[in-house]
Amino acid sequence: MTSSTLPLNQPGGPRQQRKHTPKANLSNLYQRAFQESFRKLDPRVMIKNPVMFVVWVGTLITALLTLNPNLFGVVEGENSALFNGLITLILLFTLLFANFAEAVAEGRGKAQADALRSTKSDTVARRLQSDGSTEEVSSTSLRRGDRIKVIAGDMIPADGEVIDGVASVDESAITGESAPVLKEPGSDVASSVTGGTRIISDELILQVTSDPGKGFIDRMIALVEGAERTKTPNEIALTVLLAVLTLVFLIVVATLPPSASYVNSPVGITLLIALLVALIPTTIGGLLSAIGIAGMDRVAQFNVVATSGRAVEACGDINTLVLDKTGTITLGNRLAEEFIPVNGYSETDVATAALAASVFDTTPEGKSIVRLAEKLGATVSFDKSKAEGVEFSARTRMSGTDLPDGGEIRKGAVDAIRGFVRSRGGHAPAELDQAFERVSRLGGTPLAVCQNSDIYGVIYLKDIIKPGIKERFDQLRRMGVRTVMLTGDNRITASVIAAEAGVDDFIAEATPEDKIQVIQTEQAQGKLVAMTGDGTNDAPALAQANVGVAMNSGTQAAKEAANMVDLDSDPTKLIDLVTIGKQLLITRGALTTFSLANDIAKYFAIIPAMFAAAGIEALNVMGLSSPRTAVLSALIYNALIIPALIPLALKGIEFRPLTANQLLQRNILIYGLGGIIAPFIAIKVIDVGVSAVTNF
């Protein structure tokens, strides 16, 4: 792996410098987690985690046995209060460590939620009456559908849709991005505002889109705080299996005393509890929820809000990414590169026509046409105030200007212009096709320019493929994820860009309906599909997709239909989300494997110690110094491995874009084989320490 591709593998790699989490106060995170870990000892909390609950009960029993070693009858030589006390202490620490892991994971979310909550205070809102006057009400009394007025300096009191006015809004409270955003009505991307952000210039009339307590920030707070955190299906299934394994070992241990007594090697309750705790999967049982919370947290640190842990997990399972070309694969804005004349016109003629067609066009593409035309010396030859702009629509696929003299200047997709010209009695020259092909083969977008029935030429809009995107698609392919590019471009352009960017498939001349159809076709084959969207007409597709990521700049409808919202409005993040989802699942799987593999060593430590009277010293392969130190060492290992793995559980296991088999091989070696070997060494080391300080 070369160093240039390495950062791309990591979520957040290339964007690390642009990561802006809302300022969360993490200073007393560990202090709070420490307190929490005691509070969580409450049996009503413990019982939610069957594995740790068994440890909890065991701790209680050993505590009683510390007070009265002969509580459950006398077993020769095993009624030492000191020994029982030590076991109790270790078990208690096992519980505290597990609670601490969860508390730390939750704490990060809580801190973030606190930061968000600080943006949310009761403000005064100006509600518009039906007669146009305003009345001042508390923001909590606003209801969906109310109309309000906000002016510069106000905190926007609720989520809303701009219906009038143009203003800039500071959204740094939720996105961390300090540059203000322009808000105006009617535009898909710029017309929605979020409660808790601040308007810093001018004024807006808004229609409220959420009831109090159900706004975007409220949802975010609930999510990061984990209040709405429900276990994902995979977590539930794993919890079931861990509970069953615990039950199996409970039966194994509970049925031992008769056999042991039968061969005159009776064992005490404390030793039985020690064996039980060592065997049940406490490591993964203690870390499972922390792993899940941390996964959500990683998404949040990435400035994406996921509506559920399930959505994060689903990211790992994605088979197909449906990506919009613009903004995801190519840099957002296409720039005019060249004017290609036809019909005997000169370049300047085309530039002049293109300029005339674009004077009312405020899109970046339109502005770049104006810039290029002016650079070539073209000027506007008519009175702008008397002319009228014709807006682009998905149906006509062209825009332009109606001149004061009645002339109609249009620019747009080549076949759309061809149709326009034909309808005005003209016809397209053969050169037009050549120009169209030339531009398309360069991967550019050809726009034809015409006045009435006369075609002037073609504007070459150049698309720039994002640097590094091809490598990322290569990685996705190796991970078994297929990419489908959607673009409004013609087939030739689309195929050129698709080939250059290395996507697996593309849909040219796509409409919003195509998006939902692609998703449905893929899903019919059992695939999971992820997509991004921002417009209201993306909402059905966002809802249909297994993972739908809405841009924060998008409309409220899109945000509600999606199961994730990207606060940075960067569609390329979808690729990172796949990685984060996989990372979460890998972490869970690796720690489960590690936890179960540990059992072998623990058996070899405790069983020979337990049945020392049965003459099986040869099984003490680690050469532990005495039965008691063996049991203590195994349990100390069992307790310490939890905090030792907390950083890994929170950070997640490094993900490499490898095939499934390579990943399995790698992780089995580290966490499977490592899980078998590591505890043998660790328990031996601990035993050396324990026997040095005690005389058991």
Binding site: P258, L585, I616, L664, G672
Partner: protein
């Protein structure tokens, strides 16, 4: 002759001889299993086989108008109901025959009804394909009971197992489960009967008796009169082996010279008990359209099997260190063995019979060295070193599913097997199977050991006694049926508690398996990509072997330590 000098070459030559015997058996198995596997796949895919010409006309007459040969596919619930009801009917019928056997024909020795609990235990034991026997066949049951009742169950219980395996495989691969009755009949007419007919003739030729006449009378050298039990043995013997039944016509089972007279019959009977479980794994590969996976699992089990045989055989050949000390030279352990088979073939048989849940014995497991005792017990706990008739194959896949679930996350996707997601339902059902053994073995064993005076009837106290008791319940719960022997087990407590283990060990997993397969069949398959965990690789098969070790064996380690392991260390 100097004993000490000749002992080493003797040991070596007996090892070498054993090595050839084992290799021959394994080679025959590896050659025959794929043939049978392919044949079974054809039968259950409804394809034409060369036996159709012979059997189809007979079937048409026997099952005329019943429609059972082309039954409609059943849902999980229907399948389970059909299976449980038919098994219950057979159980009741056979119990009635036992209780009335005194009044029924073919009773040359004038036997009367056994005790109700023995009759119940025996009926359950044979219905569940276990054939655990708390009695001596020749002195307890009439020819009618043996052939009419037990012989009947030997076919139906084996066929039930095959039907379950086929339904399970169909479900896993996304097909409808099929019809229980149709598969039951097909298993009998197309698989069990044809092989049995050929095999029984081979046994007859090799010297196994088949007669309804009473015991033979012989005058011994001392002039005393001896009654030598005999009967319709040959046909009983072959289905006993083929169907993993294991219930012998005679009390000492295949150690008896009329059941297993010579090395040829021993070879035939050993291979016959392995072929169906081994073949079914490959049948899976064909039905799943992935023969490679079938072969990988086959070799995984094959290797475990070979290792077990090697360890057990070496243990028997080296003999008992305490005895060897007395003798002053290493001698193989021949206690409880038939000299015509010797230590190696007895060890092979012991591993095969406990691995396949057959339960027939050609030597007493009670007398095996601790290593052999350990492995026979381990086989019963694992249930997959070939495994029981049909159910063993299904258990293998349950382990595959659990392995996928535990390690599959490590490739960064939620776990899926054969393109289908493993979710809570699958885990709950697989867990039920995981839980059956601890509940049905460890709990009754603990109760029995808690009251050693009143309940256990142990003949060898100490570590060996634990092995005896645990073995009995493990054999019942795994539907194996072999006994460690040396246990006074014809008591009310043993009959009833073992019956519980028999029923739990048989029907809980079967019901769970059918529902598991049914649920899998209904899932929308996910297409395979480079990101999908492939389960048909050597790597994954190795990981599965590890998971089987950890999940299957660690559960029983403490009890194994107190039994055979402690015994081994205490032998020195």
């Amino acid at each position: 002759m100097n004993l000490a000098d000749s002992s080493c070459p003797k040991l070596l030559s007996s090892m070498l001889q054993g090595f050839f015997q084992v290799t021959l058996i394994l080679a025959i198995l590896a050659a025959v299993a794929p043939l049978l596997g392919r044949y079974m796949a054809r039968v259950f895919l409804g394809e034409e086989t060369w036996l159709d010409r012979v059997i189809s006309p007979v079937e048409r007459v026997v099952f005329a108008g019943s429609g059972v040969l082309n039954g409609r596919p059943m849902t999980g619930g229907q399948y389970v109901r059909a299976l449980l009801v038919s098994n219950l009917v057979m159980l009741v019928l056979v119990f009635a025959i036992f209780m009335l056997q005194g009044a029924l024909p073919f009773n040359p020795t004038g036997l009367t009804a056994p005790s109700w609990d023995l009759a119940l235990h025996t009926a359950i034991s044979f219905t569940t394909n276990t054939n655990q026997q708390h009695y001596s066949g020749e002195t307890t049951f009439t020819y009618f009971s043996q052939v009419g009742a037990l012989g009947f169950l030997m076919f139906t219980s084996a066929a039930t197992g095959i039907a379950v395996a086929i339904a399970f495989i169909r479900g896993l691969t996304g097909r409808p489960l099929g019809n229980f009755y149709t598969d039951l009949i097909l298993s009998i007419t197309r698989i069990l009967l044809p092989i049995s007919v050929v095999g029984a003739i081979a046994l007859l030729v090799a010297g196994v008796p088949e007669t309804f006449a009473g015991p033979a009378q012989a005058t011994t050298l001392e002039g005393a009169t001896q009654f030598i039990a005999r009967g319709p043995v040959a046909h009983f013997e072959i289905i006993k082996q083929l169907g993993e039944n294991g219930g012998g016509f005679f009390g000492i089972n295949s150690a008896h010279p009329f059941e297993n007279p010579n090395n040829f019959t021993n070879l035939l009977e050993t291979v016959i008990m392995l072929v169906i479980p081994a073949g079914l794994i490959l049948t899976y590969g064909i039905l799943a359209g992935n023969p490679k996976q079938g072969w990988l699992i086959f070799w995984m089990v094959f290797i475990i099997f070979a290792i077990f045989i090697a360890i057990a055989a070496v243990g028997e050949v080296q003999g008992n260190p305490l005895v060897n000390q007395v003798l002053g030279s290493p001698q193989p352990n021949l206690e409880g063995k038939e000299v015509r088979f010797g230590p190696v073939l007895t060890a092979v048989w012991a591993i095969a019979t406990t691995g396949t849940m057959c339960g027939a014995i050609n030597g007493l497991h009670d007398s095996l060295m601790p290593s052999g005792g350990f492995l026979t017990l381990a086989n019963l706990f694992l249930q997959i070193v070939w495994g029981g008739q049909g159910t063993g194959t299904a258990y293998l896949f349950v382990f595959l599913i659990l392995t996928v679930f535990l390690t599959g996350l490590m490739v960064g996707r939620t776990p899926e097997f054969l393109g289908r997601k493993i979710e809570k339902r699958e885990i709950v059902l697989a867990s039920a199977i995981l839980l059956v053994h601890p509940i049905a073995i460890l709990i009754p064993a603990a109760i029995t050991l808690a009251f050693p005076e009143t309940l256990s009837g142990i003949s060898n106290p100490g570590f060996h006694g634990i092995s005896q008791v645990v073995y009995e319940y493990a054999s019942a719960a795994a539907n194996n049926g072999s006994g460690f022997e040396g246990l006074g087990d014809a008591t009310l407590w043993w009959n009833l508690s073992a019956s519980f283990s028999l029923l739990a060990g048989r029907y809980v997993p079967i019901v769970a398996l059918i529902f598991l397969a049914d649920g899998m069949a209904r899932k929308q398959p996910v297409p395979e990509t480079a990101g999908t965990l492939r389960t048909d690789t050597t790597l994954f098969t190795g990981v599965t072997a590890g998971a089987i070790l950890i999940l299957g064996a660690l559960t029983f380690l403490p009890v194994l330590v107190l039994g055979p392991v402690a015994e081994a260390f205490n032998l020195g």
